[in-house]
């Protein structure tokens, strides 16, 4: 399966290897990591939850769209759920293709659509014990 949810650590090298083939000269790996900006105070990590059946169905639809636009791309997409500490990756997208423009563009498409459409939610966890749902503005 090219795209799924997981509760395990994401492994960049394994993901890159999973899409490699002799005909592909370019691989793009994107990692989204839990970030603590200066305004985030004592943020320690984020709890990710999902609507798993729909998230995986939506991943399949997004990957199918990407394959239609970039038929030569090999795609692997993983999204973690559960608690993820600052600095750890929540999402990893590897795309290999014969030439680099396809790899960059396809990777960008996959992350943009994932963020827009896949039913996954974040709850920020602070050292103080406070917890807050992340409510994006693009509702």
């Amino acid at each position: 399966m090219p795209a799924y949810l997981t509760d395990r650590l994401l492994d960049p090298t394994a993901l890159v290897e999973s899409v490699a083939s002799p005909g592909c000269g370019a691989t793009s790996l994107f990692l989204g990591t839990v970030r603590r900006a200066p305004e985030d105070g004592d943020l320690e990590g984020i709890e990710y939850s999902a609507y798993p059946e729909m998230a995986e169905a939506e991943f399949e639809r997004i990957v199918a769209e990407a394959r239609e636009r970039w038929p030569e791309a090999c795609i692997a997409l993983r999204h973690r759920t559960g608690y993820i500490a600052v600095g750890e990756a929540s999402v990893a997208i590897a795309v290999a293709s014969p030439h680099r423009a396809q790899a960059y563009d396809c990777s960008r498409y996959l992350i943009e659509e994932t963020k827009k459409r896949v039913p996954i939610w974040k709850k920020e966890r602070f050292a103080s014990g406070a917890a807050e749902w992340v409510e994006p503005m693009h509702v």
Partner: protein, 80 residues
């Protein structure tokens, strides 16, 4: 007809549950289902037009429902 309604994330917290069964008139739409859900006082937490998925796919308010459908109220997504 009966549908299964699912709540996630902040909506699940607001409604204090993750799912419920709901009886609707035959031919009811997504909008009718949302209106029925609004009978619950916790529904004040919902935006005017919440995102809805039917059987794991985003659906429009006018989409007709069928017996046994899974209707999910989707809070603003924040993956990635």
């Amino acid at each position: 007809m009966r549908v299964r309604v699912r709540f996630f994330a902040s909506y699940a917290e607001a409604f204090g549950r993750q799912e419920m069964g709901l009886d609707l008139e035959a031919g009811a739409s997504v909008a009718d289902c949302v209106a029925a859900i609004r009978a619950d006082p916790a529904a004040s937490r919902l935006p005017p037009s919440p995102l809805v998925a039917v059987n794991q796919r985003y659906a429009r308010p006018e989409t007709p429902l069928a017996e046994g459908d899974e209707v999910a109220l989707i809070p603003p997504v924040a993956g990635g």
